[in-house]
Amino acid sequence: MSEMKEMRNENDGVISYELQEFKLFEPLFKWARKKSLWIVAFCTGCGGIEMPPLATARYDFERFGIMPNPAPRMGDLFLITGYVTPKTLKRIIITYEMMQDPKYILAHGSCPINGGVYWDSYNVVKQLDKYIPIDVAIAGCMPRAEAVMDGIMEIMRKIEDGTADGWKRYRENYEYYRKNQDELFGEGWREKDARRWLAWI
């Protein structure tokens, strides 16, 4: 059981290792991070349908080097598009923790901010920021493509001046986030949920 315990911790505790600080090429890498943001193709909630117009001819976020990428390991930008239910939040947390480190979160719409239209619904997360660090939030009940582009510009600007530090905040006060998460889902929710899914696989 101990090995099991340690592994579980390893599985959950993503924060136990220290980070690599590149002294020499830092400015170059910062520029590169700004100019090439890869979006993790994980469209939660109703905003997912807002994503395709960005990729089409009119708005074309590929101009800024942004490319949708299905694998979280390679992704940097994580778009939370629309309301977040606890079930989706579990998947978001797991995918977020799998992404590698300089990673940013762009929350679309009012639901992640304060629950928006579903302010009184029993299964919508009211304040996403309590569970994962949001870098830029775009208001509006499904902001239009221009607003999303503006949000992305905002993120690029924040990377430029180093204030897009959502991942740093997640690392420093990981206990706070972890407490909130466990409070919402209950302790050791990863095994319980996995076991629930086992029946279907």
């Binding site: 901010i113 304060n114 629950g115 009184d120 029993y122 304040q127 919402l184």
Partner: protein, 195 residues
């Protein structure tokens, strides 16, 4: 001897039940269908709302028998929706049927008491009913005898116990407990709104 038999037959013939006084059914396709069904199931009251839309009201204990009867005409069970009449302490279940051959919708309503709501399952007539019944059970707590897979279906276990769509479920209280007290509506007074 045959005289008596003839007499007996006459008595049987004219012993027809007297035509009940009912709002007369229009002589359309829907009307004929409703009249035909109501003849077979006297306990039900049928009415034609509009073209291609028919309604029946059936007491709870005869619902299964009625649905079997209706299933010859109405091949598909579209949905089982539930209405929670808190004041009358009753649930109203609406079986929405669709007849492919006639092209007519039928709304079969029944009312069951609210506290320990029980109904026989209709899976033997339409197997698809299993999902609708599970959903109804999850959100309203209605128990369908004979449905093998009642129990937690989609919702998280915590919400499943509360059967959230029942009117007596205090949503805001629950939200305050789960998502914390500082949940606040947008307040104009706050100037810098920090998420």
């Amino acid at each position: 001897m045959d005289m008596n038999e003839k007499k007996v037959e006459e008595k049987v013939e004219n012993a027809q039940p007297v035509e009940e006084t009912r709002p007369e059914l229009p002589d359309t396709k829907e009307g004929r269908l409703v009249r035909e069904i109501v003849e077979k199931a006297p306990y039900a009251e049928g009415s034609v709302r509009r073209e291609r839309r028919v309604e029946f009201r059936v007491p709870a204990e005869r619902i299964h028998e009625f649905l079997e009867l209706a299933s010859e005409k109405f091949e598909m069970l579209m949905q089982i929706s539930t209405v929670d009449w808190l004041k009358e302490k009753e649930f109203e279940l609406v079986y929405q049927l669709w007849s492919v051959s006639e092209g007519i919708h039928a709304f079969v309503r029944t009312r069951i008491p609210r506290d320990d709501a029980k109904l026989p399952t209709v899976m033997d007539i339409w197997p698809v009913a299993e999902t609708y019944e599970r959903e109804a059970h999850e959100f309203f707590g209605i128990i369908f005898e004979g449905n093998p897979r009642l129990g937690p279906f989609i919702l998280e276990p915590r919400e499943y116990e509360k059967h959230p769509l029942r009117k007596d479920f205090n949503t805001i209280g629950y939200v305050k407990v789960i998502y914390g007290e500082d949940f606040d509506r947008y307040d104009e007074s706050k100037t810098n709104y920090v998420i």
